[in-house]
Subunit: 206 residues, 2 copies
């Protein structure tokens, strides 16, 4: 039985959906970011990084969304969430997810988490002003060069899909003009028709 | 035969070392960042992101260091560069590499690449001032919570090691007090005793 630590509105949603799609045995624990619970002494024992997601397994705690997604795919191969028998195809999946974590998520983080990299209020204002452009540029690359459709890797649903869906939910809040991203929006609609996605969204809203 | 695009002093060194350790058949092509060759029309056809590394394979182009490192480990299993038969241990390797790409490398990038996320000169100055602290904090976590020693994962050398080594080479330039990082420095010395590392360093200097 796994235990997933998450907070609503965060990238932990991707792993939450993947666990559900995999039919994995898991429970969840919601952290309250408003009271900074991710930096409480109790949680820092689980994840010294003070972030979500983190997942307790029978062997230890896993963090980092791309690693967790690949782990879920490998541990539950019958769910066919990644091309496990094809190193090149698996690398394409991983490259997509790595781009999401190191470039797309990082671009978005400069809206509210500027204090990770700067100290002056004027710098935060500068960073926030850039958000529609910087986040928009990452999604433009996804729209034009990466998202094959209907799923990220084409006809087959993979661990790329819940991750793209999750970060794509931030687009409107980041003031990106989503009318320029028809494939990304179609992908979102396809995702929201999946029972696993509907179930997880309802649970995170509770 | 693979072809690795790299530039000296970049994170492409990690994949370069891994290819050498794996005994993979490969050639290299050096890009000149001073003339902005990574954004030339020719190179953007190889990698629309305008970054290194990129690796041409018989099936297509791979990017993103964590994905490339796992691919090299999977394609050349006899080199034993990752625990391929143990999903949890493989996830630990991936979580470490994901932390390097999305947090450690990103922290460092705010020194010279602030224009990715801001526009004002004052913001760049602010970001640069934070570098010793932000990069230092990521390596303090590695030193105390992640690097098992002598290799990242303990007794066994993996694809985490060339990646940590590569980003660790930036510490002095980032004005991090490396005397607080004895395990990281010992890891660097171990790496520099490996013939594959010596060969690749010599080639990148040419």
């Amino acid at each position: 039985m796994f235990k997933l630590y998450y907070a609503p509105g965060t990238c932990a949603l991707a792993s939450h959906i993947a666990l559900e799609e995999a039919g994995a045995p898991y429970t969840t624990e919601k952290l309250d970011f408003k009271s900074n619970q991710q930096n409480s002494p109790e949680y820092l024992k689980v994840n010294p990084k003070g972030r979500v997601p983190a997942m307790v397994t029978e062997r230890g705690v896993l963090t980092e969304t791309p690693a967790m997604l690949a782990f879920i795919a490998q541990r539950f191969p019958q769910a066919k969430l990644a091309p496990l028998d094809d190193a090149y195809a698996f690398a394409e999946v991983q490259a997509f997810n790595s781009y999401l974590c190191s470039t797309v998520h990082v671009a978005h983080a400069h809206k509210m988490r500027g204090a990770r990299w700067a100290t002056d209020e004027a710098s935060f204002v500068d960073m926030k002003r850039m958000i529609p452009k910087t986040v928009g540029a990452t999604f433009a690359l996804i729209e034009h060069d990466m998202l094959r459709g209907p799923w990220v890797m084409g006809d087959t649903y993979t661990i790329c899909d819940p991750y793209l869906y999750t970060l794509g939910l931030w687009l409107e809040g980041d003031s990106v003009d989503v009318s320029t991203l028809p494939k990304v929006l179609a992908h979102r609609r396809h995702m929201e028709q999946r029972p696993a996605v509907q179930k997880v969204l309802a649970e995170e809203k509770r």
